[in-house]
Symmetry: C2
Subunit: 231 residues, 2 copies
DNA sequence: TGCTAACATGAATCCTGAATCAGTTTCCAC
DNA sequence: GTGGAAACTGATTCAGGATTCATGTTAGCA
């Protein structure tokens, strides 16, 4: 990077941010390879040369776009689920927040799939970061007796991410709808509820027995930030 | 296409098939855009010019690779689940067959994600074709009382495809394992079983009431070819 | 007002690789 | 064994686009 994001004047910051946005838009519309620097700088309203004051290369911009939006998404999910009590309600809030965010960033959905060959770590890290936090949160919920035990929580995390990803893709990308329809969201709720809810819900005492608590309240946010869809 | 697959001599057929395989391999390794015709013809053991006797363009080869393998996969899944009785066992057989096939075609997994910008219909149709058959099979199973009702079967189909896709990606692509580990497969079985199995399994009579049958046997294959993971 | 560093410009450079084409080789029907 | 069709060859053409660079502009401070 020619100019670090931190060491820029307000003017420079504005230009960099315009280039990021233009990159997200053009990469999303044309794909990484068919997007030209000329289109991106044009969309950002700057000259070609200006691009290289802020990014080393086209690939560098791609990395920056994905990293930036990844942070945003994770922060968003953390925020949306933090105040929600109980793993299953957290899941529902998480899916809803995920769909909403994806609807506002449809370009990113497509960019991401394209990113595997631009920089293979970009693509992997996006999902690994989500999955790590997600798996931890699910493990905790299982230990608390909130949801059913499974052989491998990481697989569970990937399965849930896969559900979110594919359903978002179906409606937001394939159909180009502005939102995921309530019907689809409801279906996911049904599925997640059936798949995760412990078969014998009234045996709550096991939970308190396993992890004694003081107040008896479910201690919202105990999983360090409301992990849902990984955060 | 310069030379239709049908109107070729045995020699031509062999060359075309070598190009298809080389394409799958090189596209998978380097990605569509970074794969050059030279690499593909080199890998196939023919000269550059030969390529254009069989395919109109690089894009045309990509389309052919995806279409060819798509047919293979669907046939494979149909075959793997045809003889299995009951929707949930069919699901398990379907996931197993899917993972096995994907393990043998890891390149395709990556190619597919890349294909969205090569030819947007390629990518969509791959999943739409799978989802259509899958949704029908699930609808039938619901009507038969074999699995729980959901708001929208198509969403259910996409959710299940998402699970398969992401778990395959996790192990076969991210970790480059030769197979999806049994642990992960077992986890999916647990999930699918919990999510789909009717809550009150012993009330079988509802089923016979809804769709009276003669012999009483579950009529394996009644869903026209054993749809699992869409076929 | 004048000075300097940061910011901006866009035409020119340079490389890559898809697609072509003029010619060569293989195959097989007669 | 010969004619012609099918298959094959690979050097060449050509367009597109990432990156560079020589030069111009702005903003803020003394």
């Amino acid at each position: 990077m020619r100019a670090e994001a931190g060491s820029l004047t307000a003017r420079g910051e504005r230009t960099r941010s315009r280039l990021l946005e233009a990159g997200e838009e053009v990469f999303g519309r044309r794909g990484y390879h068919d997007a030209s620097i000329a289109q991106i700088t044009n969309s950002a309203g700057v000259a070609q040369g200006t691009f290289y004051l802020y990014f080393d290369s086209k690939r560098d911009l791609m990395r920056a776009v994905v990293a930036e939006r990844g942070h945003e998404l994770r922060a968003n999910l953390a925020h949306a689920t933090a105040a929600v009590v109980g793993r299953i309600p957290k899941e529902e809030a998480g899916f809803a927040a995920f769909f909403e965010w994806m609807a506002r960033h449809r370009a990113l959905c497509r960019i991401l799939r394209n990113s595997e060959y631009v920089d293979s770590d970009l693509y992997r890290d996006w999902y690994r970061q989500l999955a790590n936090g997600y798996a931890h949160a699910l493990r905790t919920a299982i230990d608390d007796g909130e949801i059913s035990e499974v052989d491998d929580v990481e697989t569970l995390a990937y399965a849930l991410m896969g559900i979110g990803d594919f359903v978002a893709m179906r409606w937001l990308i394939f159909e180009d709808r502005p939102t995921v329809p309530p019907r689809a969201v409801a279906t996911i709720s049904q599925l997640v509820d059936r798949a995760l809810r412990t078969q014998t819900p009234p045996r709550r005492r096991d939970r308190w027995a396993t992890r004694p608590r003081v107040g008896g309240a479910p201690a919202a946010g105990s999983d360090s930030g409301g992990q849902a869809l990984g955060v």
